[in-house]
Each structure stands twice: as C-alpha cells, then as structure tokens.
Symmetry: C2
Subunit: 303 residues, 2 copies
DNA sequence: CGGACCGTTCAGAAAATACGATGGCGCCCT
DNA sequence: AGGGCGCCATCGTATTTTCTGAACGGTCCG
C-alpha cells in the first residue's frame, strides 16, 4: 500500500470515474485501474462497484475512504511542516552561564530568542567560567559566557562588556580600608578564588607590584561564596562593582575607593561550528542583547 | 513521498544506523540510503546528521519523525479496518414494510440484525404492498414485505405466514351479520380497497360465487383507513383477524363468524441479487425471525 | 598505520509502473 | 432494433523507478 494508490482511491471516489480521475492525475486510465486493483487485492476488500456509468463506492469503500483521507492528510501535514522548517531555525542550544541570570540579561536574551526563533529552545546551564570554556571546546555546551581573557584558537570569542571590579571588606573593617593603599590591603586577610577562577588572575594583577603576599584565609569558587564570606567578616575580596555597591547598600560590606582592574565578560562558541545556522543566529542575538557588533569578535591564534 | 520511505525514515531513526535498518527491512543498505536521500530532497530538510557512528536525527528530523509516525499509523489503521471488513457484512439495506411494525416483528428483526451484523444498517420504509413490489423490481428497495401472491419471475419470494382474515362490521350492525351468509353480507355497504391492494383480490374471491355485486360505498388504500371507516359505521370490510378481534374487543367492530379466505404474508428480493451477501444475510435473518426455512422460498417462472 | 564501521556513490540488473491498443458491456439515440 | 458512445478491464510493450553489489572516502581505535 502506497500513498499514490490512496490518492488515486480518493480521486476516483470523488469523481466516480476512472477516466476523469486519470485526467486529473495526469496519467492513463489503465494506470489508475491498476492502482485500485492493487489496493483492493492487498486490502482484501472490494472498494468500488463497477457500473457502465463509472465507479461507485461500496459500503466498505465508503468506510475506508475516511481512513485513506486521514492518511493523506497526515502525509500532507508532514509536508507542510517540512516546508515551514525550511525557513525556520529549529533546535536546542545549550549555553553555559557563569554568574547570576539578571546580570547576564538572560531574561532579555530568552525573550528576544523566542521572538525571532520560536522553535529554538535555549538551555541556560549555570556553571563556572573555568568549566564553561572546556565544556564548549568539548561540545558539552554549544556556547557560553565567562569572565576573563581566553586564548584558545578553536574558540570564537565575543567581548560583551568590561566589568569593573571593586575590593570589598566586611563592614566591621570600615576604618581599616578607608584611604588604605594597595600595600595595606594586601596585609588584610583575603578570601581568594581557586586558580582556575578568572578572579584569581585579577587578584594577581592587583598585587603584582606589591612585595607583600596577601594572607589567603579561604579559597572559594563562586561569587556567592565570596559574598557570604565577606558578610561573615572572614576577609576582603573582589566583587563585581555592582555587586559590591549592593553589599555596601545592604550594609554587609564596604567598598575600597581605589582603582581596581576590571574583567572582561565574554561569550564563546566553537570556531568550527560558527557557520552552523543555529550557532550563528544565537550568537547574533546575544550581540544584539549586549549591544555590541561584529567588531567585538576577537579571534586569537594559537591553541 | 511514499509510505515505504516513511517506514525507512522511522526505522533508521529508531536504529540509528542505515546498516541495521537495512537488515530489519530486508533490503540493502544503499537502498535505504536512497530512501532517506529522496525524502530529504523532496522535503527540503536534512533529517539526519551523518556521523561515523551512524545516523542521528536533526532537530528538524525529530519534529518530522512524529508526523511520519502519525502518517504510518493512519495507514495501519486503514489496513486494520480493511481486515475487519473482510469478515464483516457492511452496508445499508432498504426494506419496504406494508403494515404496522409490531405485526411485522420489525423490532425483533432489527435486534437480530444488529446482533449478527452490527455494521448493516437497515432502513424500514413504510409503504404499501402495491408499491413495494415494483419498488423492489426497480431497485428502489432492496427487499420488502407485502400481502398476497406474487408471480414476477425476477423476484425471489418467501412466504412468511398465512394471515387469516375476518369480515368486520360496525358494532351497530351486530344483528345484521350474526349468522348471515355470504350473500347477505354482499348486500351490505362495503368499504373496499383499490384494485392494486391485495385485499381487493381477497374480496373478489369472497364473492366469486355470489350473484350480488356488493355495494362499494368507499375505496381506501390503507388498513388504518379501513378500520377508521368501520369505526365510523360506513360499511363492512376485511381486516386481519388479529386486527378484527381487537376492533371487537375495543368495541367498535363486530366480527363475522363465517369462513374467510386468508392472505399470504410474503417477503421478496430481486432474484438476481439473491447472491449478494448482504441480501442473502438479511433474507436469512428474516426467515429466522418468522421461523420459516428455505422451503418457503417459492420461485415462480414467467414475468 | 591498518583494520573495523559507516554512509555515499556508481553502473548494471531487476522490478514496478505507465502507456497505447483492444475488447466487452450497458446505455442512449435514432 | 442497431449503431454509436462512454466506461472499465486486460494485454503486451516501453519506460521509469528501485534495488543490488562493488568500490570509495571518512572517522575511530588499538
């Protein structure tokens, strides 16, 4: 049983004549006669009563007509959907997100994606910069955000924002950091991040011209943890400036007023997948959300 | 797009390999490779991602998979219904009924038909003997009941019952028919049926040996009308014995006690359609309901 | 670096399908 | 009543489609 036979069945039933059906199907009368015959033999059911005036559906044919119609309709739906998919981007995209969703404008990104590409389903996976980058390279993620520089040649990286950082101390240490210089800060107990964390590199830069090695009283991996330890009065640390200001506003941290190096917010995808329509489209939407153009797309050489 | 391509599509998607799908479909691997290729080209959509390990559905393929499945399912339903129809009688049957449904056991007939052949839909069409017979011959009816003999060679007739008749007079004429002979009855005013009505023939038989021509004060066509005219005191007439007795019970008629010829209740179908399964089945059920065998099937010669 | 898998492509073979002609059957019109 | 017409079934041939087996290119793994 094949669809062309069902099409013939329906057409013959509608027209009541093999001859007329043949004309409308742009084929010969014996051809469609054969279609009907083959169908009847395969189904074991006489579909038409042959009369000198044409073909009349038998009661059995009448019942099967509906089923044949449904089958053709289902096939037609498939074609229609296929046609729709031709001009429509479809698929799941897994994006690594390394810090809070609000700062990362995930809401806006999601809304914009849904408007432009309704059949694209983004997955936002909370992770850490140090894990996101290798996950992108391994293909576990289709793309991802992270802090800090990146010089893997197989990644296509977009700089989205320069994120200012600020040194924050527990409120109790207010007078100890007021007007302090970098050397005095280094003598305070520090909450550090692990070496894989991009904040670590910023801290290193901070103290590169200071001969005092800061006292590292704790190592943590997330900004949440840093905030929490500052709040508990454990030590001084680096936070995003907006985070730092909020800490001060909410009364559990005080900001150091001196200059602090910033960090880059970046977005990366695999360079060799950059031509995939889905990857290209999502990257473009992200650039729109962060209001940066293609010029922000830096591609370093070397592995 | 053909069903065999969709079957291949589903199988390849399920197995993830052209090779394995080919084995299960009892064909060669290049063959199903061609199926997929043709499908993809016709739909304008890449269904699978080719990898060294096999075939993986693309997101587009994933969406179309469901549609393909539905199409195949619809086709499968068609086959299933066709198989069911092979052993099941289907169709509409138009039966002419010439008198009241209760007497004709239409309820029992319907119940029995529905039990034995649930997909057969009987139509019971109220009509008159004189119309039913030609309607059967013309094909307007598939079969029908009627009173009286029938000698059309193209009909296959079954005698179902010998229906006794009784002469009934208005109650007021009680003493005029008590003990009357046929000659005296003939002198009363008669309610007659038209010549086409089989009751007419019975009346003729009744008076064939009497020299008095009965006074025909009214001609009607239905038993209902006959009853009504008797009730109104218009004249004497013939009724089915059960009808007559009810008239007497209900006090609007009185029965003549003398012998009265009966009439045959018959059922007919076109002789040349007697081999149609539907006709054969319905005829058989009717014989069961009336508890007669094939021996009651009389087939006269001549037109 | 060679073998194991897997999918694609190709040319020839096989099968299915289409075509044109023919015939039978009922119907209509003369 | 008979010739013509419209309809479908059948048949042999022709065409198209589909299938097959072999060869090829790629990736992965030991």
């Amino acid at each position: 049983m094949e669809l062309y036979q069902l099409k013939t069945f329906i057409k013959v039933a509608d027209e009541g004549h093999l001859t007329r059906a043949a004309e409308q199907l742009f084929t010969s009368q014996p051809a469609i006669s054969a279609h009907i015959k083959a169908l009847e033999e395969e189904l074991g059911v006489v579909l038409f009563q042959r009369t000198p005036k044409g073909m009349i559906l038998t009661p059995e044919g009448e019942l099967l007509y509906k089923q044949a119609e449904q089958t053709l309709e289902a096939a037609e739906n498939l074609k229609i959907q296929a046609r729709a998919l031709q001009d429509e981007l479809v698929g799941d995209v897994r994006l690594g997100v390394h810090t809070d969703f609000e700062f990362m404008r995930i809401g806006g990104l999601h809304r914009r994606l849904a408007e432009t590409y309704p059949r694209v389903r983004p997955h936002f996976i909370q992770s850490m910069s140090s894990i996101i980058v290798p996950d992108i390279r391994k293909g576990n993620l289709d793309g991802g955000f992270f802090f800090g520089p990146c010089n893997f040649g197989d990644l296509s990286v977009t700089r989205l924002l320069d994120v200012p950082m600020t040194i924050v101390a527990p409120v109790a240490w207010h007078e100890r950091i007021e007007g302090a210089d970098i050397r005095q800060l280094a003598e305070l107990p520090w909450v550090y991040t692990s070496e894989t964390c991009p904040f670590h590199a910023v801290s290193m830069t901070l103290f590169e011209n200071v001969d005092v090695e800061p006292a590292k009283v704790a190592f943590v991996d997330s900004e949440d943890a840093v905030r929490e330890l500052i709040r508990s009065g454990v030590g001084v640390s680096l936070l995003r400036r907006d985070d730092a200001q909020r800490a001060q506003r909410e009364g559990y941290g005080c900001c150091w007023s001196g200059d602090t190096p910033g960090i880059e917010l970046q977005f990366a995808v695999q360079k060799r997948r950059g031509s995939e329509p889905l990857i290209k489209a999502v990257s473009e939407v992200i650039r729109q959300v962060w209001d940066v153009g293609d010029e922000a797309l830096s591609e370093k050489a070397a592995e």
